[in-house]
Assembly symmetry: C3
Homo-oligomer: 137 residues x 3
């Protein structure tokens, strides 16, 4: 078990170009393993074509709607200069954000009734990772 | 007065489907009540169709423009699958974000001259809450 | 050298209306000067027409594509009411966000291989500042 100030990392494999993956179980485990009862939890996505967000995971249509609508707002084939063909993914990453900070209570991340933590892939499939730091306070 | 690591909660009632409500007074009070002089303040929106942001509250037209333009970018009647009719609100929530972290100095949240903290309602009117955790450091 | 809980500030001068400026060197220096070896680093933009984000700085076309596409999504001449002509900048600021939290490891901000920290100007050219607070934990 790591000390409470250790940075934790977990890996995930995305399956398609764009998708939202519920990583709440991994976040809960990391917070528990940190040994921190009360504080905050910093989630960090070390990739420039992905992000993290907090959203509903009751109806999977919410995820599908979000992925589809982000594609309407930032289409892959907009007139971009970057020649890797993934400028849309970079832009979506900055819109959604690479970081999120959760409150930790009684050794658990505080989430609303309908909330889950999602890893947002915008240029998969790829091997990805998420870093987590829990700070007591 | 709670100890400095207590989580604080305040409730608010939104009045329309989409609006931005200045919650700076509540945030200032929570930071003061925390007893923390220097550190950071984690604001957390436990809802999936709302968010928190930092914006200008000098000219109310800024809020109106933001709400109206988000509706142009994410229209309520886009071709969504989620059958509750509020996919737009979920998407706006993830674009604006459910968390924000402020710096705390001398027992007060550090805000720029024109900045205020806003609760962003995207699927009201509803009873809502905001959670606040202040971490010394 | 400031104590580890001091707030640090650095100034920058933007050159055009919209641009992304790599501020990673300033962030690295601030984290080092804080004297904090392990913890988190809260970046704060005290302006309502600018923001901070984490993105790629390998190919400058990524920045150019992001600035150009944000202008397509939030055009300066959309039908806004705010009479200063910069409602687009306020909206982009809230979409990108005024805060970002990084993990600090061995006295350095933890960044992915391709990641850099950017100040995003949406209503320049102006004199701007960024506030940084490093919290040990």
């Amino acid at each position: 078990m790591p000390g409470r100030s250790d940075i934790q990392t977990f890996e995930l494999r995305t399956a398609t170009r764009e998708e939202m993956i519920d990583i709440t179980p991994q976040v809960r485990s990391a917070v528990k393993r940190s040994g921190v009862s009360d504080g905050i939890c910093c989630l960090y996505c070390p990739h420039t074509t992905a992000g993290v967000t907090i959203q509903e995971n009751s109806d999977p249509d919410v995820k599908a709607d979000m992925v589809a609508h982000l594609n309407r707002v930032v289409p892959k084939n907009a007139p971009f200069r970057h020649d890797e063909g993934n400028s849309d993914a970079h832009i979506k990453s900055s819109i959604i954000g690479a970081t999120a900070t959760l409150i930790v209570e009684d050794g658990k991340p505080l989430l609303g009734t309908w909330q889950a933590v999602f890893f947002c892939e915008f240029d998969g499939p790829r091997e990805r990772s998420v870093r987590i730091k829990v700070v007591p306070g």
